[in-house]
């Protein structure tokens, strides 16, 4: 296990230059795009006022000084303050919006994997039959779906025509649970608030289905391909010859082996999940990081955008590290 520890430390150290590069690119691109003061004040503000605010935000200094200052602060884990309105610390704003994104991500991720794996196994067992062709088509269509459009369709059907489900927000303000973790479903359970729980779940359904279906296509295809491969392998034939029940063969032997590439994809998909979350959140006015980032981009709030991107990138690095560690527990052949 000590070699695993060495591996983890090495991975973390390696991710530092990666984050640095990402950060520098974002820093430059943002400043090329325009400046926050004119976005804030509009086109008709007096020049003296613009100059005053630019000075206050430190935007009057040369670019490299701004850059070095930013890095220095980051080294102390200080993401700075927002450039607009109350100029709140960026980290506070991120932490305020993160639970909403986390809740949606967990829910959509779980939904997509269950749906993808189930349809993939189903398809593999009926290879080249009509159900298999239908599911393969499903895999291609969902992978190329455009989230805002799909979300809109679901909103129309289930929210407007049928009136079954709410189409925006995380909860009815009258029923919002007391905040403990920021995950409304969990908070409702912790405070034993049943109406709040039902309400939070109802709000979660459409965004989850939208994002979940979009993400599930790739798992469907991946599970199908690997299950077909593995179902033809020698050890599955041997398991059949030992008279094991079909369920054991499919789920205990075949799926567990097919799960290794699925796990790899889960790690890779995480970035896509967050990107999808941005679109889903804006479509459903879900007050998470994506919604927040989208809003702040239109204000050119440099520090907040940079901070959010560093936060998301760090998250992605951490997730892929966790996936690598999970491998060790699933596949006894992998040792670091």
């Amino acid at each position: 296990m000590t070699s695993l520890r060495v591996y983890i430390i090495r991975r973390i150290l390696l991710s530092i230059p990666m984050l640095l590069i990402l950060l520098s690119v974002v820093f430059v691109v943002l400043r090329v795009a325009g400046d926050p003061v004119s976005a804030m004040l509009g086109g008709h503000a007096p020049i003296s006022e613009i100059e005053r605010i630019r000075k206050q935000l430190g935007l009057d200094k040369p670019l490299y000084i701004q850059y070095l200052n930013y890095l220095m602060n980051l080294a102390h884990f200080d993401l700075g303050r927002s450039m607009i309105w109350g100029q709140r610390p960026v980290l506070d704003e991120i932490l305020e919006h993160f639970p909403a994104t986390l809740e949606l991500s967990i829910s959509a991720f779980t939904f997509s994997i269950l749906l993808g794996v189930f349809t993939g196994v189903f398809s593999a067992r009926r290879r080249n039959k009509p159900a298999d062709h239908a599911i393969r088509l499903y895999g291609i269509i969902t992978y190329s779906i455009f989230i805002p459009w799909f979300g809109l369709v679901l909103q129309l059907i289930f929210g407007v025509y049928l009136g079954w489900l709410p189409i925006s927000g995380r909860s009815d303000p009258r029923m919002a649970p007391e905040i403990i973790t920021g995950l409304y479903v969990l908070d409702s359970i912790l405070t034993m608030n049943l109406p709040g729980l039902i309400d939070s779940i109802r709000h979660l359904i459409l965004p989850t289905v939208t994002l979940g279906i979009y993400l599930s296509g790739i798992y469907t295809r991946l599970t199908r391909t690997h299950m077909i491969d593995i179902l033809q392998s020698d050890f599955i034939r041997a398991a059949r010859a030992r008279g094991l029940p079909e369920r054991t063969i499919i789920y205990k032997h075949a799926l567990k082996n097919a799960f290794i590439p699925i796990l790899t994809m889960m790690g890779l998909q995480f970035a896509l999940l967050l990107a999808g979350a941005v679109l889903t959140e804006t479509t459903f006015s879900w007050p998470g990081m994506g919604y927040f980032l989208y809003e702040r981009i239109s204000y050119r709030d440099f520090t907040t955008i940079q901070g959010t991107i560093v936060f998301i990138a760090t998250l992605i690095v951490l997730i892929s590290l966790i996936v690598d560690i999970i491998y060790v527990y699933i596949d006894p052949r992998i040792r670091y």
């Binding site: 050890f235 398991a239 010859a241 008279g243 094991l244 082996n257 006894p332």
Partner: protein, 318 residues
């Protein structure tokens, strides 16, 4: 007839491929008594493995059993439901596979393979099954500490020992060993064959030993079933077969075994290629490669003839 453990009659197994119908097993009859060992010999593509798998009804698609009977201890296996068949697999008829490197689940501990097999067929507690599994592993020469190890931590020979323990886990009446030693090196091959002989004497089960290597047959098999191009061409007890094979293919095979006492001799081989089983040759399938072939052999399919006591040969010469 009553003492027959297995009786195969008129078995046909075809593969429906895109290029055509492959007649992998074409009208094969075979019978064996309880506790007997049959060496099923033939070159690659002769249908011997398909025959072995057909007995367990595990012919991979696009293959199908087309016709014929497989009567095992009075039960016609071709008529059983899938669930009835599952109960026979592993418990009454088991299989040892060719490649021990790939026939174990890489993510499962060695011991769990055996425990799982036992528990699929018998109502035992996990502890009882584990105890039994440890005994089995020791019997095939694997120390009990290795119970918790994974397949990749074993060598090929050791894995094949696990494969044998798995096949014997439920004390079956028949073991089908499909090229059990072909992927092992020569020394390990002999160790495994010795182990199989020893365990066969201990358990008294019947065995079908499928192999392309005719030289491993003497000393282990009671009978030899020789397959060529999906058909059984000779079926004889091992002694008489090795003394005097009747079918020209058998003769040619025995002559092609290298003899180290006469190392200056040129290695003999059978000229020509195995036939295409989608369009097999007309008449006797061996006729294009047979030194004794006549016009009749090329036109008509020879009948299977009983020679002496229980000896079958499919050739016009007899």
């Amino acid at each position: 007839m009553i003492s027959d453990l297995l009786r195969i009659e008129g078995l046909r197994v075809y593969y429906y491929t895109r290029d055509g119908v492959v007649m992998a097993v074409d009208n094969v009859d075979l019978f064996m008594k309880k506790g007997e060992t049959i060496g099923l010999v033939g070159e690659s593509g002769s249908g011997k493995s398909t025959l072995g798998r057909a007995i367990l009804r595990l012919v991979p698609p696009p293959g199908r059993i087309i016709s014929g009977k497989i009567v095992f201890d009075g039960l016609n296996l071709t008529e059983l439901s899938e669930e009835e068949m599952r109960k026979i697999r592993g418990k009454r008829i088991s299989m040892v596979f060719q490649d021990p490197m790939t026939s174990l689940d890489p993510l499962m501990k060695i011991g769990d393979h055996i425990v799982e097999t036992i528990m699929a067929h018998e109502t035992l507690t996990r502890e009882e099954a584990e105890e039994k599994a440890i005994k089995l592993l020791e019997q095939v020469g694997i120390r009990s500490e290795r119970f918790m190890d994974y397949p990749h931590q074993f060598s090929g020979g050791m894995r094949q020992r696990v494969g044998i323990a798995l096949a014997l886990a439920l004390n079956p009446d028949l073991v089908i060993a499909d090229e059990p030693t072909s992927s092992l090196d020569v020394i390990v091959q002999f160790q495994i064959l010795d182990l199989m002989k020893e365990l066969k004497n201990l358990y008294g089960m019947g065995m079908i030993l499928i192999t392309h290597d005719i030289s491993i047959i003497p000393g282990i098999a009671d009978k030899v079933a020789l397959m060529y191009a999906g058909q059984l061409v000779e079926f004889a007890d091992a002694k008489s077969f090795f003394n005097e094979p009747l079918h020209p293919y058998g003769k040619a095979l025995l002559e092609s075994i290298p003899n180290i006492q006469h190392s200056d001799q040129k290695l003999k081989y059978i000229p020509g290629n195995p036939p295409d089983l989608i369009n097999p040759p007309k008449g006797c399938r061996f006729s294009p490669r047979c030194p004794y072939a006549t016009e009749k052999c090329r036109e008509e399919e020879p009948p299977t003839i009983m020679v002496g006591h229980h000896r079958l040969v499919k050739c016009f010469q007899y």
